[in-house]
C-alpha cells in the first residue's frame, strides 16, 4: 500500500515500493526509484536520477538528486543512490553526479543531520554520521563508520578514512586517514578515535597495533612514504596495516599532518 498525500505531486513513471508514504506538498519526478517502507515527509523534492533504498526516512524540505552546483553545467543524466535504513533530516541537499551516468552515493544506515550538503560525485560509506550543517564538496569520499562533526566543511576531492572522526567546526582540507581523531585548525592528527573503535568492538590488541602504525607515521623521523615502507615491513600480514597503506595510496591531496 502506498500512502501518498493528495497534495503531493508524484509522477506515474516513478517506481515506488510497497508501503511508501509521501507527505504533503512533496514532488517526485519521473526517473525516481523508491524502495519499500521508505517515508518521505512534507515539502521534499526528489528529482530525476534518485535511487532510494528500503526503510529510509526523509524529513521535511529535503532536496535529492538536484543538478550539481558546477558552473556552466547542463542537465546531465546521472544518479544519486541512497542505501537502506538511511535517515535524512530537514533541509539536506544531495546533488547528483556531474558526469553522464555517474553516481553520488550514500551508504546504508547513514544519518545525515539537518542542513548538511552532499555535493556531486560524493561517496559516503555505510553507518556514517554527518552532523548538522556539514558542507561536503564535490568528489569527496567518506568511508564506512566515519563521523563528521557539526558545521565542518570538507574541501572537494578530500578523503576521510573508515572509523575516523572529525571534530566539529573545523575544516577538512587534506585527507583524514582511517581510525583517527582529527581536529584543530589547520586540521591535524590528534590521536586514535579510541572511543569510536571501542564502541565498535575493536580489541585492545588491535588498538595497540593501530597505535604502533600511527606512531611510525606521525611520531618518527620518517616521512609518509618511508613510514609506509616501514609499516609494510613490520606488519606484513596485518589487515589493519593494509587498510592504512591502501588509504595512503589512495590519497592524492596528502594526509593531515600532526
Amino acid at each position: 500500500m502506498i500512502n501518498i498525500h493528495p497534495t503531493a505531486i508524484v509522477s506515474n513513471n516513478a517506481k515506488i515500493g510497497d508501503n511508501v508514504s509521501i507527505g504533503p506538498f512533496s514532488i517526485i519526478y519521473d526517473d525516481v526509484e523508491i524502495g519499500n517502507n521508505t517515508s518521505i515527509a512534507s515539502h521534499c523534492v526528489i528529482y530525476n536520477g534518485a535511487r532510494i533504498g528500503n526503510n529510509c526516512k526523509i524529513y521535511q524540505g529535503v532536496s535529492i538528486s538536484h543538478i550539481p552546483q558546477v558552473s556552466k553545467i547542463q542537465d546531465v543524466h546521472s544518479f544519486v543512490s541512497i542505501g537502506d535504513d538511511t535517515v535524512i533530516h530537514e533541509f539536506v541537499t544531495i546533488h547528483k553526479a556531474s558526469k553522464e551516468g555517474g553516481f553520488t552515493s550514500i551508504g546504508k544506515n547513514v544519518l545525515l543531520m539537518a542542513y548538511s550538503h552532499i555535493a556531486h560525485d560524493v561517496k559516503i560509506g555505510d553507518n556514517c554520521i554527518i552532523v548538522n550543517a556539514v558542507q561536503i564538496g564535490g568528489h569527496v569520499q567518506i568511508d564506512d563508520w566515519a563521523i563528521i562533526g557539526g558545521s565542518t566543511p570538507i574541501h572537494q576531492f578530500c578523503l576521510v578514512g573508515k572509523h575516523a572522526m572529525v571534530g566539529a567546526a573545523f575544516k577538512v582540507v587534506k585527507d583524514v586517514p582511517p581510525f583517527v581523531l582529527a581536529g584543530e585548525e589547520p586540521m591535524r592528527y590528534i590521536g586514535l578515535n579510541s572511543v569510536g573503535l571501542k564502541r565498535r568492538g575493536f580489541s585492545s590488541q588491535q588498538m595497540e597495533t593501530l597505535k604502533k602504525i600511527y606512531k611510525l607515521i606521525y611520531d618518527s623521523s620518517l616521512n609518509v612514504s618511508q613510514a609506509k615502507d616501514k609499516i609494510k615491513e613490520l606488519f606484513p600480514d596485518e589487515p589493519l596495516a593494509k587498510d592504512v597503506i591502501d588509504f595512503i595510496d589512495r590519497s592524492k591531496r596528502g594526509i593531515i599532518p600532526r
Partner: protein, 258 residues
C-alpha cells in the same frame, strides 16, 4: 479571527488563539497550541508537541518541534515551548525534547535567524539573539540577553551565561560564564561585554564589580578553584558575584580559559 491560507493543512485538533495567521502550504499537526496574534509564514511545518506563545512570528519553511536527531530517542512524548514575541526566521529547525528533560524551551523575545538549529532539550532564555546558521547541540543552555553571532556553534551540554557574546564563526566547547565576550579556536575569554552593559544600562558600580571579579578569575594567576574562594571571600553577599559563582559551581564541562 483566524486567517488560514486555503492551501495550508491545519489539524482540527490544534488549538489556535485569536488573530493567528497561517501562510500557504504550511502544515499544523494535531497536538499543537498557538497563542494569540502569532503569524506563521509559508511552507512551515509545526509538528506535534509545539507550544507556541502570543505574538510570535515564524517565517517560511521553518521546522518546529520535529523529532530529535538523537540516536537514543525512541518516539517518547515531549514538547517544544516558544515564548511570547519571539521571531523564528526562515529554514530554522527547532527540535522537541527527549526523555531526559521532555522539553526544549525557547524563551520570550528571542530572535533566531535563518538556518539555525536548536537541538533537543536546549533551554534558550528570554531576549537571547541567535544569528544565522548557528548550530546548537542537545542540552545546551543559553541564559538571558546573550548573543550567538552568525555561524557559531555549541557543543552538546555546554552552558552560556547571561550577557555573553560569542563572536562569529567560533565554536562553544566549554561553559562560558556570564558577562563576557568569547571567541577564537579553541574558544577563549576575550574580555568583558561592555557593549551589552551599555545597551542594557548597567550601573557603573555593577560594571566595576564585574571587572574586579573577572580580574580575580582571569588575571590574578590563581586557578579557578582558588579564584572562586577568593571571590567568595572578597565579595560576600554581592548579588552579581554570587551569580557568577553559582555559574562556576554548576559548570560540568569546565569554564573557558583565557
Amino acid at each position: 479571527m483566524v486567517e488560514i491560507h486555503p492551501t495550508a493543512l491545519v489539524s482540527n485538533k490544534a488549538k489556535l488563539g485569536n488573530n493567528v495567521s497561517i501562510g500557504a502550504y504550511s502544515i499544523i499537526q494535531d497536538d499543537v497550541e498557538i497563542g494569540d496574534n502569532t503569524k506563521i509564514g509559508s511552507n512551515s511545518v509545526i509538528y506535534n508537541g509545539a507550544r507556541i506563545g502570543n505574538n510570535v512570528t515564524i517565517l517560511n519553511s521553518a521546522s518546529i518541534s520535529h523529532i530529535p536527531q538523537d540516536k537514543k530517542f525512541h518516539g517518547e512524548y515531549s514538547l517544544l515551548y516558544i515564548g511570547d514575541n519571539s521571531v523564528i526566521c526562515d529554514f530554522t529547525t527547532l527540535h522537541r525534547g527527549t526523555e531526559a528533560t521532555e522539553k526544549t524551551v525557547i524563551g520570550s523575545n528571542v530572535v533566531i535567524c535563518q538556518y539555525s538549529h536548536i537541538a533537543h532539550d536546549c533551554v534558550i532564555s528570554d531576549n537571547v539573539f541567535i544569528g544565522s546558521f548557528v548550530q546548537i547541540g542537545g542540552h545546551v543552555e543559553i541564559d538571558e540577553f546573550s548573543v550567538m553571532e552568525d555561524f557559531t556553534s555549541a557543543h552538546q551540554f555546554c552552558r552560556v551565561g547571561k550577557y555573553v557574546t560569542v563572536l562569529s564563526t567560533y565554536k562553544v566547547s566549554m561553559d562560558l560564564p556570564p558577562f563576557i565576550i568569547a571567541g577564537k579556536k579553541p574558544i577563549k575569554f576575550l574580555g568583558l561585554n561592555f557593549e551589552l552593559f551599555e545597551k542594557y544600562n548597567f550601573s557603573q558600580d555593577k560594571i566595576n564589580t564585574i571587572t574586579n571579579a573577572y580580574n580575580i578569575l582571569y588575571n590574578s594567576g590563581l586557578n579557578f578553584s582558588q579564584a572562586k574562594n577568593e571571590l567568595a571571600k572578597k565579595f560576600s553577599n554581592d548579588e552579581i558575584v554570587d551569580e557568577i559563582l553559582k555559574f562556576l559551581n554548576n559548570s560540568s564541562r569546565g569554564i573557558v580559559g583565557k
